[in-house]
């Protein structure tokens, strides 16, 4: 179930648009903010709040890659950009270093649910490549040492 706070936020989001369906994307974002992913229940609740079919919510959840539908992610979601600019400047080494440091493969979550590692396509930070995003925050001009420090700082 969504919290009252999220439901209130969904009501606010609805006001931005002439129809409720348009609020679907941001409503689902609000739902995801609660725990980092969305469940079947959340999607049903969003559908109910917007008076649309649950499958319409899942369509949105499944198309846009930042929604974590029914996939609980770790507390920290580390996404390393692997597109051309970052790759030219060594994104692969960064990914490898993180995999080694955490003992997991890309796409996996550490056993203590602390960190999930994924790759991402260009995040719009190419001038400061290589880069990664942890939850909402960008970390740029990465080096293997710098990454190691950042990871250590994640609780």
């Amino acid at each position: 179930m969504l919290t009252d706070k999220t439901l209130e936020e969904i009501e606010r989001i609805k006001k931005k648009y002439p129809n409720t369906k348009s609020a679907c994307m941001e409503a689902l974002q609000a739902a995801q903010r609660e725990k980092g992913h969305v469940t079947e229940c959340d999607m049903r609740a969003v559908a109910e709040a917007l008076d649309i079919e649950p499958v319409e919510v899942q369509e949105v959840g499944g198309f846009y890659t930042m929604y974590n539908v029914e996939k609980p992610k770790g507390r920290h979601h580390v996404q390393v950009c692997r597109n051309l600019s970052c790759s030219l400047l060594g994104a692969e080494h960064i990914i490898l270093a993180i995999e080694q440091e955490l003992g997991i493969k890309t796409g996996e979550t550490t056993e203590d649910d602390r960190i999930t590692l994924s790759t991402a396509e260009c995040l719009g930070s190419c001038g400061t490549a290589p880069m990664m995003q942890i939850n909402d925050e960008f970390h740029e001009d990465l080096t293997v040492d710098k990454v190691s420090d950042i990871l250590k700082g994640l609780k």
Binding site: K16, Y17, P18, N19, K21, S22, A23, C24, M25, E26, L28, Q29, I52, E56, E59, V60, F63, Y64, T65, M66, Y67, R82, N83, L84, S85, S87, L88, L89, A120, E121, C122, L123, G124, S125, C126, G127, T128, A129, Q133, D136, E137, F138
Partner: protein, 420 residues
């Protein structure tokens, strides 16, 4: 040259309304309200401002397509999806000078008679979205947005709509679908958004940089704008330089600056004193250039004439150590990942090409793989629904055509020709 679009890039705290006003902000808006909407559209036409989102369509002309019927709702949409790999200019404007964009959008709204506008910002730009929302709140607070703006009688509401991870939503019709709460798949044109766009109402969609050019054009005049760059695509342009250069970053330069000037004069040349190998002039969809094209003037028409595109102005530089098979693979993988799945050739073709490139890259290439790749390209090109598929093909063809030997070597020797 004095930075206009990136005025505040080195000025932390420059994003506030206070600072914006101190630099002459919202003066253009005041000037706008003194003339008619048609005057504004005419000014935009005279400025020859061309869309900075990639296609270079004249902004004034686009605005003039909007029907004049006052009983019909109209919308302004700002394309801040900034997904083209290599591009990070819109983020710069949004984070450092959000009011420049907001002012541009209000003026656009006034020009076409729109009471509502949406800024479609990509989901990853959490910081940028917050900054925009704060700036919009400031603007409402001081009466630059909302009812009867500055006593002009013009009312305008502005909202941020956050994307959530889909490159295709940069395509304008997909962007509109996304705002309406659907999967972001392109829609057929015609009808063009100017006639039937958001909620089937007349809509203009412009890139952040395009809209950010509007206030300075109004404030400083058309002559100032056209004094820079070639006649047919004048004005300042932000170049996003990344890859193997000494000083990557955003550079606001006149349209028509050459690639050589950008890379060697402004960005300090190739990183670590290595040799230049290739450059992508306008984001990964744009075919790459080799050394012989470095003196091309970076404006829409010249780059097009040389067989590539200015695109979003994302200059990605590759030095001699770069493996072209791998680069092609990365670029193609991106397109197949981002293919929206609507049309057959792009959905099935890009992923097939990616699989073939991957096997070459990992040393399992087959003798006729280059022909296979070219054949796949031919089957996709010109047959897709939107330009994403074409972009993927153009990029891949350029890699193969310019570096065929490297591909051959990779297939035959199961390893790179270059040693990183």
């Amino acid at each position: 040259m004095e930075n206009v679009l990136l005025k505040n890039i080195n000025n932390p705290g420059g994003h506030t309304l206070k600072n914006y006003l101190a630099g002459g902000g919202y003066e253009a808006l005041k000037k706008t309200f003194k003339v008619t909407p048609d005057d504004i559209i005419q000014t935009m036409k005279d400025s020859h401002l061309r869309g900075r989102g990639g296609a270079g369509f004249p902004a004034g002309l686009k605005w003039s397509f909007i029907p004049k019927d006052p009983t019909v709702d109209k919308y302004v949409c700002c394309n801040a999806d900034e997904g083209e790999p290599g591009t990070f200019k819109d983020r710069g404007i949004i984070e450092y000078d959000p009011h420049l964009l907001i002012e541009g959008m209000i003026i656009a709204g006034y020009a076409i008679g729109a009471a509502t506008s949406y800024i479609y910002i990509r989901g990853e730009f959490e910081f940028g979205a917050k900054r925009l929302e704060a700036a919009i709140a400031e603007a409402y607070d001081k009466g630059y947005l909302g009812k009867d703006i500055l006593g002009s009688g013009f009312t305008h509401d502005m909202y941020v709509h956050r994307g959530f991870g889909a490159y295709i939503c940069g395509e304008e019709t997909a962007l509109l679908e996304s705002i309406e709460g659907y999967r972001g798949q392109p829609k057929k044109k015609p009808p063009f958004p100017a006639l039937s766009g958001l909620y089937s109402k007349p809509t203009i969609i412009n890139n952040v940089e395009t809209l950010a050019c509007v206030p300075p054009i109004i404030a400083k005049g058309v002559e100032w704008f056209t004094s820079m760059g070639p006649e047919k695509s004048p004005g300042p342009k932000i170049f996003c330089v990344s890859g193997h250069v000494e000083k990557p970053g955003l550079y606001e330069l006149p349209m028509g600056t050459t690639l050589r000037e950008i890379i060697f004069d402004h960005c300090g040349g190739i990183k670590d004193g290595k040799n230049f190998k290739a450059v992508i002039p306008g984001g990964v969809s744009a075919p790459l250039f080799k050394e012989d094209n470095l003196d091309i003037s970076m404006d829409f028409d010249s780059v097009m004439a040389a067989g590539s595109m200015l695109g979003s102005g994302a200059v990605i530089v590759m030095d001699e150590t770069t493996c072209m098979v791998k680069s092609a693979y990365i670029v193609n993988r991106f397109f197949s990942h981002e293919s929206c799945g609507k049309c057959t050739p792009c959905r099935e073709g890009t992923i097939w090409a990616t699989k073939v490139l991957r096997r070459i890259e990992y040393g399992a290439g087959r003798p006729d793989d280059i022909e296979l790749l070219e054949s796949i390209c031919d089957k996709i090109f010109g047959r897709t629904f939107c330009a994403l598929g074409d972009g993927a093909v153009m990029a891949l063809r350029a890699f193969i055509n310019n570096f065929r030997e490297e591909f051959k070597y990779h297939i035959e020797n199961k390893k790179c020709m270059v040693q990183a």
